[in-house]
Amino acid sequence: MSYTSSSKKNKVALIDCNSFYVSCERLFNPKINNKPVVVLSNNDGCVISRSTEAKIIGIKMGEPYFKVKELVRKNNVHIFSSNYALYGDISRRVMKTLKSFSDKIEIYSIDEAFVDLSHVEDKEIENYGKEIRERILKWTGIPTSVGIANTKTLSKVANNIAKKNKTGVIYLNENIDNHLKKFHISDIWGVGKQLSKLYIKNGIDTAYKLKNISNTWVKKRTNVLGAKTVMELRGITCINLETQETKRKSCCVSRSFGKKVESLEKLEESITTHCLNAAEKIRNDDQTTRSITIYIRTSPFDQNRKYYSNSVAIDLPVATNNSLELVKVAISGLKKIYKYGFFYQKAGIVLSKLREASENEFNLLAPIMENKSQTLMKAMDFTNAKYGRNAISIAQAGINNSWKMRREHSSKIDTASFKDLPILKI
């Protein structure tokens, strides 16, 4: 049995920045080129980006920092706290550079994008990929890998191969099956932990085996997405490029605390700040929310103390994006789940059931209430945009914020702010 599509083939490239956060840190710091470098997650928690040299030493992705401290010390590994202001700006530059090739791009994450290359001839396409790679490197200083194939799922596979390839570019068009035979099931895009467990239990441990299972089996044992993945491995497009920025369906803000937090007051401060940030985000997108979830938890790694984690979801009577209302509801939710005597490590909120502000249902009280609050919210956003985040806030958010993030190793560079521009000593 073989599967090939007869119609004119789509061609899609996945451009993925190599060790993106590390590459950003290297941009203005040649001292750390060719040396082991890792970037830690918020609050210096876990390893989230590694240079090739750090991978070779044996530092694993996602490992808590305290577990690799010994390796770091022995091998003189350069450590950085994450500096999202910098990574965000460099990411925007990479994506803008990509847009100089084609408007048909889907920004998939901070360091990955799909680009439609269906218009490029087969024999030209690898050179085209090389050109993309070279231009991004020259303009932004960020190395990338380019994987080109007939579907998004296959382009992910191709990108994986390109990463190990000298040129960093591959068009996966011939001998696809040979590559799929060596490709582990759990590395396939769209195959999560649960699904890969199911596949492995049924003897399907490579992309090749998944490609050749029967349609009925997939449809029976998995969901629509599972079936789509299988079709995509066969070269049949089922997942289209999402070129327009589709609006989010939920908005989540959470942080780990720099210092563990015990009191309800401090948690209230943190939850309030998260609410303000989230509300501002959805207002920017002209959205409102119908539901808010509040969650808190202690550290799962702390063996000396008891673990506690809880969350509560509250449906709102009227969809809103008003900071004050959201804070009020969130605090009442927090009080329901807060327990005295625990040392909390993380608190967060999720706004869900988001919808366009204009779609809101008719409400008798709404016109009067809304107008007033909208004016206030607009004034708040405007002032904060002009005078910096949290110029205007509400008192509940606290002023001292001792629970704020720990960022001991930050490079503190922001290429998009006059305050923190890179400095060159001459």
Partner: protein
């Protein structure tokens, strides 16, 4: 980073204000003047006095374009001994050298003989505060 300055079409004069005062034609957009290729352009602050002879002073802001090729006598950012530094690039008989802008022949670095040195970007403008 956005900085615009309103651009007035009438001259400044003493006496009765022009009725056209309300009429602002357009904004002078320094971004579009100083930056031709935004994703490739970085602003870098300098500290130090070693490049005074090429017109770069302590605290100046450099507009650096990574996408363009340096010409003869371009001011460039380059990596030497694991540091980013400002140099002048000169071309003699098809060979590119980096200098500190001084006449001292000894500090000429031949780019072809030092493949590890790359031109990081080309300085297109220097923003210097006069007062």
């Amino acid at each position: 980073m956005k900085l615009t300055i309103p651009f007035y079409l009438h001259k400044v004069g003493a006496g009765f204000p022009s009725p056209a005062t309300d009429y602002i034609e357009d904004d002078v957009d320094l971004n579009s003047h100083l930056i031709t290729n935004a994703p490739a352009t970085f602003i870098i602050r300098v500290q130090g006095k070693s490049m005074v002879n090429v017109g770069i002073y302590d605290g100046d802001l450099l507009i650096v374009d990574k996408s363009i090729e340096p010409r003869n006598f371009s001011t460039v950012i380059t990596n030497i001994n694991e540091e980013l530094v400002v140099k002048t690039l000169i071309k003699e008989k098809g060979v590119s050298y980096l200098t500190s802008g001084s006449k001292n022949i000894l500090d000429k670095i031949n780019l072809a003989e030092n493949p590890e040195i790359i031109v990081w970007g080309v300085v297109t403008y220097v923003i210097h505060k006069q007062q």
